[in-house]
């Protein structure tokens, strides 16, 4: 192996996550989810609400322990590793939440928010050092001049500025991996792009890898063009591969349906789009996931006896794409 090749940084192996919903019933939110992210790589998780993308993000960030399966950071299983390794993992992986109005403590000034982790993890030895580092962090996220922001409370900042503070907070421990959970979804379009460009710059300058979670495939395409996209449906990854392949040549019927359903900010393109018609509009409940391929009640290509039998596994299709569809296995999916 050449030294040029990026090392695997974080991976999930056959992760299952179940939550208790009543004394007897459990709901399986993630079912056999595996993926890995290399250093400096971008992996986008896309899918509709309830597909398990946020849970996957929380598991990757170590905020949730999976029911079964492994989370590995630099090859080590983090939940069986010793304390020092676990601490290293928690420092190396940080999360940016969706809602900058809820994720910052309203009673703390920007300086307190950012210096707490610096002092706690002894990255800064004293308050004065922390102050300097906070100023640097604010410059990194383009909150300039930083002196203007350091004494402010979150309510004195706009949504975009707050999200920059959240990003700065995620950067305090100099992580190698950031989980960005719908990090730009709540922001207005005119400032969304500048935030995405900031995240991109952090990757170029600091080599940060991303697990970028979004429901917006156009944002995924823009942000992860050089990376990969994983499409999730009802707790499983149904298709994963290089972004241009997923966007321009989707294999799974669900991915095709999503892409064809999305309206676009281009009147000609959006009005002339070929639509995939689903057999049902109802999303099945996670308490009662359909047998076999969980997409089969809605899938336009459904074949009785095949799709409602066995659960399809991810298998290699063309151009580095993996897809979990029985019809694709038999190469019956023709465009």
């Amino acid at each position: 192996m050449s030294t040029q090749e990026a090392q695997e940084l974080l991976s999930l192996h056959h992760v299952v996550m179940e939550f208790k919903v009543s004394r007897r019933a459990t709901v399986r939110v993630l079912d056999d989810v595996s993926f890995s992210v290399k250093e400096g790589e971008i992996l986008c998780l896309v899918g509709e609400s309830g597909c398990g993308k946020t849970t996957s993000g929380k598991i990757a960030a170590g905020l949730l322990q999976p029911t079964s399966g492994e989370v590995r950071f630099r090859g080590q299983n983090v939940w069986t590793a010793d304390k020092a390794t676990f601490r290293q993992y928690r420092r190396g992986v940080q999360i940016i939440h969706q809602d900058p109005y809820a994720s910052l403590n309203p009673t703390q000034r920007v300086e307190d928010i950012l210096s707490a982790p610096l002092l706690r993890h002894k990255i800064a030895r004293n308050r004065r050092e922390a102050h300097q580092q906070v100023l640097d962090l604010l410059r990194t996220v383009d909150l300039t001049p930083p002196e203007d922001f350091i004494k402010k409370y979150p309510h004195q900042l706009s949504g975009g500025q707050r999200q920059r503070v959240s990003i700065a907070r995620a950067l305090t421990l100099r992580p190698q991996f950031l989980v960005a959970d719908e990090a730009v979804s709540m922001l207005d379009v005119s400032i969304r792009v500048s935030l995405l460009q900031l995240l991109e710059r952090l990757r170029d300058q600091m080599g940060v890898a991303y697990l970028f979670i979004t429901h917006d495939l156009a944002v995924a395409k823009y942000f992860a063009w050089e990376g990969r996209i994983a499409v999730m449906y009802l707790g499983r990854i149904v298709e994963i591969g290089p972004t241009p392949q997923i966007i321009n040549n989707p294999q799974h019927p669900y991915t095709r349906a999503l892409l064809s359903a999305l309206p676009e900010a281009d009147p000609k393109a959006t009005r002339s789009k070929q639509r995939v018609h689903l057999r049902s509009l109802d999303v099945p409940s996670l308490l009662n996931v359909p047998r076999g391929c969980s997409f089969h009640p809605r899938c336009p290509l459904f074949e009785e006896g095949l799709c409602d039998g066995k659960v399809p596994e991810l298998h290699a299709a063309s151009n580095g794409v993996q897809v979990a569809c029985h019809l694709n296995e038999n190469e019956k999916v023709a465009a």
Binding site: D188, V189, S190, Y222, P263, D266, P267, A269
Partner: protein, 345 residues
């Protein structure tokens, strides 16, 4: 056509000004907005949060909160040869006017229903308030509208709101809004918070309805792709003012206002290669003391002293293309390219 000289309109708004009373002062949420909604057309209002588009919608149907007031302006409603100013309607007149003539479908379909009433009872209450006395007659009409929005009446009418999915609730709400066949409908963010496939079904339903029932539609949305999909004309709002009104084609392919040009270049698309995007520097202004001159000047790469001192008015720069910008000709000439340069600089 006999009336070829004058296109029939549904709504004509003139110099509308709406303000909120806040502790720090008056928030000028809608500032001298004028536009005409043609009969049967879909006019989309786009703009970012806080630009005044929802306030504008609420004032059109006179549902502003008590802290807000219409300070000046006219909202002329026209239907079947009758014409009146909505601003002057009394509460009693408004009660009859709303829903029958002008239905508003709000964002957040989960909050629009009474949670302890079955869907049928919500329809019955609404219809009864507007003079319906015959349940069988109503049932027929409900079934007809449910077919249009692709809902199963037997199942849905017996359900409580919480038993329906978000997309179904949104479609029920659309059906409820259209129940009395109003000539004018206002939709505020109809697909926000819906999943992609559900959003598609709502968009398709709206398009079908438009082709089958001829109502005029005002669409309020921050989502430029929704406007691209449904609108005939697009109105861009910024800081409480209307800065551009154009056909959907001109708005997306030949915007004359730098802000519209910037917004359109800020949204990623799915088709084709990955394109470069633009972000508009700065943030929207404080509406208590908006900037002098053109409110967009602090963020605009085309701004000159003229923009800082004088407020541009909405003029017909090109046929059927209104814009409020001193430098629209420069934007037209370079296709809004300067919005992009600024980011790279």
């Amino acid at each position: 056509m006999a009336e070829a000289t004058q296109t029939p309109y549904t709504l004509k708004v003139e110099n509308l000004r709406v303000s909120y009373q806040a502790e720090r002062g008056k928030v000028k949420a809608v500032r001298d907005v004028s536009f005409t909604l043609q009969k049967g057309e879909t006019l989309a209002f786009i703009g970012e949060s806080g630009c005044g588009k929802t306030t504008l919608g609420l004032s059109l149907i006179r549902l502003l909160p008590t802290t807000a007031a219409i300070e000046q302006g006219k909202i002329i409603y026209h239907h079947n040869g009758e014409e009146f100013d909505i601003v002057n309607l009394s509460e009693k007149q408004l009660r009859r006017f709303r829903w029958r003539e002008f239905a508003m479908i709000f964002q957040g379909a989960q909050n629009a229903f009474n949670p302890v009433l079955r869907i049928w009872d919500q329809f019955w209450e609404t219809a009864r308030a507007h003079g319906e006395t015959n349940k069988r007659h109503l049932r027929e009409r409900v079934e007809e509208t449910f077919r249009l929005v692709q809902l199963d009446p037997d199942r849905v009418l017996r359900a409580y709101p919480h038993q329906l999915s978000g997309g179904m609730r949104q479609r029920v709400l659309i059906a409820l809004g259209l129940l009395l066949k109003p000539p004018l409908v206002l939709l505020d963010e109809p697909t926000t918070a819906l999943d992609i496939l559900t959003q598609r079904s709502v968009i398709d339903v709206l398009r079908d309805l438009k082709s089958q029932m001829s109502f005029s539609l005002i669409l309020i949305s921050h989502d430029l792709s929704l406007a691209a999909e449904l609108a005939d004309r697009v109105a861009t709002m910024y800081a409480g003012t209307l800065v551009e009104i154009a056909t959907v084609w001109d708005a997306y392919y030949r915007p004359l206002h730098p802000y519209t040009a910037g917004l359109i270049r800020a949204v990623p698309t799915l088709s084709g290669e990955r394109q470069d995007l633009v972000s508009i520097p700065g943030s929207p202004p404080d509406l208590i003391s908006p900037p002098t001159g053109c409110a967009f000047h602090p963020r605009c790469p085309y701004a000159t002293d003229q923009c800082r001192q004088n407020t541009p008015t909405l003029i017909e720069a090109e046929p059927n293309h209104m814009v409020a910008c001193w430098h629209w000709d420069e934007v037209a000439a370079d296709g809004g390219a300067r919005m992009k340069e600024q980011v790279e600089a």
